[in-house]
């Protein structure tokens, strides 16, 4: 099967002043096929977010090769990386990163500005993404700082969908949600994966959340310690009545 992610012996170090550079990733090798739903698990500080940034072409590895959709990311310029991110990747950041004092709808439509899509189209696409993410329509015109943490998370998910990416990278997308709302988000991811063939890489602490994926990768101290198929994949229920 075609590999969308192909990491070969990736390391990432951060220089910390006079001290030896801390190696956060210590030789990660794995690949993800197009259309796979993968969960990455690991304790806090194990390097999950760092790996996600490299997978999302936001950062480049210190050593090793990363082929994204067959293309080596190491050789790309800043602007080429920006194009790769815009075309292929949808991010859901651990800390949402919404624009403050800006409406939900504008936040969701923001990536489309850089894709050069017209305003009417942007609004349509953003509205659909918000519906797919189970975001209550009544709050579309709210400012992003007037909504709850759970709602912010869904805005972040909706935003990751608008550019119709081949791959969605989600860092703790259910971290702030109650189990019911969390299920809605997981259902959205499963639907995107099953119905639209999107590759999904989901980072989580929780075993329950990870069990919605096809495959679970465990990271510990910058190494992959376990990488296996999920034997009993859970299917998220799609609760229609979610409290906003």
């Amino acid at each position: 099967m075609e590999k969308i992610i192909d990491c070969r012996n990736i390391t990432k170090s951060y220089a910390n002043g006079s001290v030896e550079p801390t190696q956060v990733l210590k030789g990660i090798t794995f690949s993800v096929a197009r259309g796979e739903f993968v969960a990455i698990m690991g304790p806090s500080g194990s390097g999950k977010s760092t790996l996600m940034h490299i997978l999302g072409a936001l950062d480049t590895p210190t050593s090793g090769d990363y082929f994204l959709d067959g293309k080596n990311v190491a050789g790309l310029s800043e602007d080429e990386l920006a194009d790769v991110r815009m075309e292929k990747i949808g991010f859901v950041f651990q800390s949402f990163n919404l624009l403050p004092r800006t409406t939900v709808l504008r936040n969701v439509a923001l990536p489309l500005i850089y894709a050069g899509i017209s305003k009417e189209q942007r609004v349509k696409i953003a509205e659909k993404a918000l519906r797919d993410s189970a975001f209550p329509e009544a709050a579309w015109q709210y400012h992003s700082n007037q909504i709850s943490g759970g709602m912010m998370q869904r805005v972040a998910i909706a935003r990751s969908l608008v550019n119709d990416p081949a791959m969605i990278l989600a860092d703790e997308p259910t971290g702030n949600l109650d189990s019911k709302t969390g299920d809605v988000v997981l259902h959205t991811f499963q639907a995107l994966n099953a119905d639209h063939g999107k590759t999904i890489v989901l980072i989580t602490h929780e075993q329950y959340v990870a069990e919605h994926a096809d495959r679970i990768i465990h990271i510990l101290d910058g190494n992959i310690v376990k990488d296996e198929k999920n034997p009993h994949k859970l299917v998220a229920r799609n609760e229609k009545n979610i409290a906003p």
Binding site: N97, P100, R106, L110, I113, Y114, K119
Partner: protein, 414 residues
């Protein structure tokens, strides 16, 4: 990123923090407004002074007695009192080619009396050609004629200021010309009959002819000066501006020859060209304008630094936003354009408001303080150009700083 999207992003970013944007813009508004107003005052003053000089008469050459000197140097001893120019010189000058009219003059300050009122003012003995040469018009009555000059008739034409000085009564502070015409006044004890009043020319000091009393040249020589031999100034009106220097040269050689002087540096007269006065005065008022404009330019510079300061603060504050925009596909160019757009929008709208305010100040000065002001298109265009330039110059560095940010570090920024 499309242009109209860029505009929208810029608009949103600026309106999110209205107070701060407004205050930053105020710096530019004040800077531009003061440039516009200051230059308007400077140029208005320049125009007024030039108009005053022009009102002395067009294409004018003034021949003064005394040693040659250039206009603007200190007055040499005995200036104007040397007795080297004669009425015959004037007659000879009138015969030169390209000369439209010549008016010999003799003037002095004398006491003029009517009834219980009196004033000490300039009495000018001259000929009817003076009207044309010095651009003087008679309001009511008439000017004296060549016959009056030939016969040394004691008639006088008075300026409007003299009219109000001499003919004001306790019940009427602003007398009309017909109250004076036909009346006899005493000048240095001699009776002169008022036959006309000149039109007010305005202006003050240097340019004002409204304080003058005009009498026939011969009458002034006979009754006031007591000598028929000399005049204190000869004014020449040249037919066309292009002929000014030719006539000036011809007049110089003619007078040198008539006075029997072979060395031009020893000339006992000097000729002042009206254009020389205009350029000397223009140089002074030009310096004045430059001075005002540079003071204003400093405030504009301070406004520009305010813009840069705000943009740098904004870039720091919005580090996470910049990181996010880059993460979702913004290129360096998009970020640069957005921040440059924000600073340009601030300076440009500041520029528009500044021009309007400056214009308002200029009009206000003209209306309430009766200072002549002149808002020139040039200064408006310059102000816009400068404000746009400030936007680019002071916005570029912060914008580049934003664009160069590493998206990961920007997203981690607290």
């Amino acid at each position: 990123m499309k242009f109209n999207d860029l505009i929208e992003e810029v608009y949103n970013a600026i309106t999110v923090n209205k107070v701060r944007s407004g205050l930053t813009m105020l710096g530019i508004v004040i800077g531009i407004a003061s440039v516009i107003a200051m230059v308007a005052i400077g140029q208005g003053t320049q125009a007024t002074v030039q108009a005053n000089i022009q009102s002395l008469g067009a294409n004018l050459l003034m021949v003064m007695p005394g040693a040659a000197r250039s206009f603007g140097t200190s007055v040499s001893a005995g200036f104007g009192s040397a007795e080297t120019l004669t009425p015959d010189d004037a007659t000879a000058l009138a015969a030169l080619p390209n000369v439209a009219a010549v008016a010999p003059e003799i003037s002095g300050r004398y006491q003029a009396v009517y009834g219980s009122e009196n004033t000490n003012t300039t009495v000018m003995g001259t000929v009817p050609a003076y009207l044309q040469v010095r651009n003087v018009q008679v309001d009511q009555g008439s000017f004296f004629t060549a016959t009056d000059v030939t016969n040394s008739n004691r008639v006088a034409v008075i300026g409007p200021n003299v009219l109000s000085e001499l003919f004001a009564t306790p019940t009427n502070a602003s007398p009309t010309p017909d109250m004076a015409i036909g009346k006899n006044i005493l000048i240095k004890g001699n009776i002169f009959t008022v036959i006309g009043v000149t039109v007010a020319k305005g202006g003050s000091g240097f340019a004002s002819q409204d304080n003058n009393i005009y009498v026939p040249l011969t009458a002034a020589q006979h009754y006031l000066v007591g000598s028929m031999g000399y005049v204190s100034e000869i004014d020449i009106e040249v037919q066309a501006e292009q002929a000014m220097s030719t006539v000036e040269q011809a007049a110089t050689s003619l007078l040198l020859e008539r006075h029997g002087i072979s060395d031009p540096t020893q000339a006992d007269f000097n000729i002042v060209n009206q254009a020389d006065i205009v350029s000397a005065v223009s140089a002074t008022t030009g310096t004045f304008t430059t001075l005002l404009a540079s003071i204003a330019a400093i405030s504009l510079l301070v406004g520009g630094i305010g813009i840069m300061n705000m943009m740098l603060t904004t870039v720091t504050e919005r580090t996470r936003e910049i990181g996010l925009r880059k993460a979702i596909g913004a290129k360096e160019r998009d970020i640069t354009l957005q921040f440059l757009g924000e600073s340009l929008a601030l300076t440009f709208s500041g520029g528009v408001l500044g021009v309007l305010l400056g214009w308002g100040i200029a009009l206000g000065m003209a209306y309430f303080a009766s200072t002549a002001t002149q808002v020139s298109l040039g200064s408006v265009i310059l102000a816009f150009g400068v404000s746009a330039l400030i936007g680019i110059a002071f916005g570029y560095y912060p914008a580049r700083r934003a664009a160069k940010m590493n998206p990961i570090e920007a997203l981690r920024y607290e």
